[in-house]
């Protein structure tokens, strides 16, 4: 165990509609790939689908990418338990999806669950609101990104906590949202799922926002051919099972959430950004971008010259083998102290 000085890799708060297609699952896979390279840390993982299978799928992915456990022995504080998965207690997205059913109901040859998990009831999951807030409290200032790959339901509830806006302002550099169409376009299901929350999020979130529209997801899809090839190192892989369950192979899946995560962790060299402005949400779930100098919102723009590079990053990171995690501990700065004061007296 080595103690390091300074900031750890950037923390990522990931909130998604996991199981609604494969976009969020692939984004998580990419994020785990970045974590394996110590470029990012997944500090909070929650789903806005109020469905235990969505949370269980998140746990399956976390277990798969966790890598070998740390060596036993030594101070027990170095052996932290897995972080809980947050799940919305209510919301419009609640039903099962083919992805969730196939992955979680898959059995091994001897009839055991192929992807075991411990989430069976509501209190096996975390309340996403304190989960996200608590994760933020543990980050260095300006060393955290929030990526939203689903409705804004959970994030606006975090904003409602006392002191949360100040906390977010201090800890979060950027909110990357994979929802909407830009500068305008069709209504996105992630916005429509909770229009009121989306409106509030864009209007009141205190940090810069970069939105990734469906147009980016459509133009830079994840190549279905990679599923058969690049993930073949694993005899069984939950992403492969999810991808196959989501559509008839071969197909290329739109993955705006992968773009959002990639941009959040590697902001340079893959995408361009729009001019600053403001994103508004219409009642029917469509988004509108209005350019404005000094605006806090931008949207991601495809750089035609970097398309192949982006796809390559998607594939390499999402299909990477789980790497042993380096448990890093950072020493806070120590200050010299003056003489102790008089002890307090009992009342």
């Amino acid at each position: 165990m080595q103690f390091q000085q300074g900031k750890p890799a950037i923390g990522i708060v990931f909130d998604s509609d996991l199981g609604n297609g494969v976009d969020a699952a692939l984004a998580l896979a990419l994020l785990y790939g970045l974590e394996g390279k110590n470029e990012a840390r997944l500090v909070s993982n929650s789903t806005s689908r109020s469905n235990l299978k969505s949370a269980a799928f998140a746990e399956v992915l976390a277990r798969f990418y966790a890598g070998p456990p740390p060596a036993a022995g030594g101070f027990g504080g170095f052996q932290r338990p897995a972080s809980p998965i947050g799940m919305a207690g209510e919301g419009s997205l609640a039903g099962d999806t083919p992805v969730l059913k196939v992955v979680l109901e898959k059995k091994t040859a001897d009839g055991a669950p192929a992807w075991p998990h411990s989430i069976d009831k509501l209190n096996d999951t975390a309340d996403p609101v304190p989960l996200i807030r608590n994760a933020l409290t543990a980050q260095n200032d300006a060393n955290c990104m929030v990526t939203l790959a689903g409705p804004a339901t959970n994030l606006v509830k975090v904003m409602d906590l006392p002191g949360a806006l100040d906390l977010i302002s201090r800890k979060v550099k950027l909110l990357a949202i994979a929802a909407g169409s830009y500068p305008d376009g069709r209504a996105d299901v992630r916005i429509k799922a909770d229009v009121a929350a989306a409106k509030r999020l864009f209007a009141e979130w205190p940090t810069p926002i970069v939105a990734v529209g469906t147009e980016v997801g459509d133009a830079l899809p994840f190549p279905g051919s990679s599923i058969e090839k690049d993930f073949a190192w694993a005899p069984a892989h939950p992403i492969v099972d999810a991808y196959r369950a989501n559509g008839t192979m071969p197909y290329d899946a739109p993955v705006p959430s992968m773009a959002a995560v990639l941009y959040a962790v590697r902001p340079d060299g893959y995408f361009k950004l729009s001019a600053p402005g403001a994103i508004g949400v219409l009642e029917d779930g469509r988004t509108r971008f209005t350019p404005a100098a000094g605006g806090r919102h931008r949207y991601l723009v495809i750089d035609p010259a970097q398309k192949e590079k982006v796809i390559q990053a998607y594939v390499e990171l999402a299909s990477a083998k789980p790497a042993p995690r380096q448990t890093q501990r950072f020493r806070p700065n120590q200050k010299k102290e003056a003489a102790p004061p008089e002890p307090a007296k009992n009342q």
Binding site: G76, G77, P81, A126, N134, P332, P340, P341, P343
Partner: protein, 449 residues
């Protein structure tokens, strides 16, 4: 004291020669016409936090089930006679006890944040926490009882120095914080607590106390004149109540005297005050006995009880464990050390069970004293080996005057703030706050009832 034909005041005292003895709730305190109403009225609620350090062996604390409490795990086995009076809460979390960029020092943080709900400042000098929930209640009830609150402990009330990786001993050795910079040190010495409860506020020197001891048998001797006057005005039920109550005071006093004599014989140079029994169980019984009396006499409604200080390395030779508590908790999954911690945890629970017995036996307003209490028995760490701050071991004992349905295990969602419980308890005590610590809302009493 003036004995009146009309109702005896609830806060009447027996006085004499520097002694002030509060009275338990008597029928005579209510006008005859109103007696029926008074019996139907709700007695005051009391809030207690009894804290054990260094976490718990959770595998032996949490039952494998939820809902109605049945067979309890090994550590809680001594509580089985009381399971109908217990609400076992799961998954409560103190995020502010976690490192949150402050590095090592989980013991200092967890006790400092336990009732304050804030991340305490890592320092040995300019300490800073927050007003604890017990003190918020104490301030609110200050004019209703003789003592707004009582802070009780059984070990080490040092307020300065480094007790955990740069955290002041003020964090590990106190639970109650009157302001963000003023902790309230616990009273450790039974004699000091006795004199606080029954003295007139004058602190006696050991010499004066010794001279007093030469000529008196009991503090009750000083108030005997008032006692006789009062008894003459009471009916048989009240006389019996008063007799039982004064007997319990005399018992406590006798135990203190015996402890003082024993300690002097064992080692006249011992560092502990002579009133502190060497035996943990005896000390526990004395301190909790006096808390019970304080509640009976309505001397206070708010108590914090730090059984031993957070991070303590106290050995438990009483049960054959000569290793320190804290080192044992870093067991690294070695069975022999886990067994020792389990035995210590069980020993603590055994003492608590004895106290609950007493609180159930003490009658009040036609019911039991325990029925008018919320007694939280818990710790600021769950797994002491890994220093975990989630799923904190928490028993809520007593039903808050019928507001809480006990006899169950309720497991909340992960990361549910412990402060949500504090907020709910303060609400029951009559303090309606929007926010406290890092609470996200009141722990739902709908789920608790």
């Amino acid at each position: 004291m003036t004995i009146m034909r009309k109702a005896l005041h609830r806060r009447s005292f027996l006085r004499g020669m520097g002694a002030v003895v509060g009275l338990p709730f008597l029928d005579a305190m209510v006008p005859a016409m109103a007696l029926g109403q008074a019996r139907a009225a709700r007695p005051p609620l009391r809030m207690v936090f009894a804290y054990v350090p260094n976490g718990i062996i959770m595998e032996q604390w949490n039952p494998a089930y939820e809902g109605k409490l049945g067979e309890l795990p090994r550590i809680l086995k001594p509580m089985e006679p009381h399971r109908d009076d217990i609400l076992q809460l799961g998954n409560l979390t103190h995020n502010t006890g976690r490192a949150l960029l402050d590095g090592a020092g989980d013991h200092g943080r967890c006790s400092g944040s336990y009732l304050t709900g804030v991340q305490v400042k890592k320092t040995t000098v300019d300490i800073k926490a927050g007003v604890s929930c017990d003190q918020i209640v104490a301030k609110h009830l200050a004019d209703q009882t003789r003592f707004p609150s009582l802070e009780i402990g059984m070990e080490d009330a040092r307020q300065a120095g480094d007790c955990d990786s740069g955290y002041s001993c003020a964090y590990t050795n106190n639970l109650a914080w009157k302001s963000e910079t003023q902790p309230l040190p616990p009273i450790l010495d039974p004699r000091a607590l006795f004199e606080r409860l029954f003295g007139n506020g004058v602190v006696l020197s050991p010499e004066t106390r010794a001279r007093q001891a030469d000529y008196r048998h009991s503090i009750l001797d000083f108030v005997s004149e008032d006692t006789h006057k009062l008894e003459a005005t009471l009916g048989p039920t009240d006389r019996r109540k008063l007799d039982e109550y004064l007997t319990s005071i005399r018992d406590v006093e006798g135990q203190i005297e015996r402890a003082e004599k024993t300690n002097a014989q064992i080692d006249p140079h011992m560092e502990k005050p002579y009133g502190i029994p060497a035996d943990f169980a005896e000390h526990f019984k004395l301190m909790t006995g006096m808390i019970t009396i304080a509640f009976q006499a309505d001397l206070t409604r708010v108590v914090t009880f730090l059984m031993t200080r957070e991070g303590t390395s106290r050995p438990y030779r009483e049960i054959g464990i000569s290793d320190g508590h804290h080192p044992c908790t870093h067991h690294q999954n070695k069975p022999d050390l886990i067994e020792k911690v389990t035995q210590i945890n069980t020993y603590h629970a055994t003492q608590m069970a004895g106290w609950v017995d007493q609180l159930k036996s003490a009658k009040e307003g036609g019911g039991r004293l325990l029925d008018n209490m919320m007694l939280v028995y818990g710790a600021g760490l769950s797994d002491g080996n890994r220093h975990l701050h989630e799923d904190l071991p928490t028993l809520l004992i007593g039903n808050a005057g019928g507001a809480i349905r006990t006899g169950r295990r309720v497991v909340y969602r992960k990361e549910t703030p412990m402060c949500n419980l504090h907020l709910a308890m303060m609400d029951r005590m009559g303090i309606h706050m929007e926010h406290f610590g890092d609470a996200t809302g009141q722990l739902s009493f709908a789920e608790l009832t």
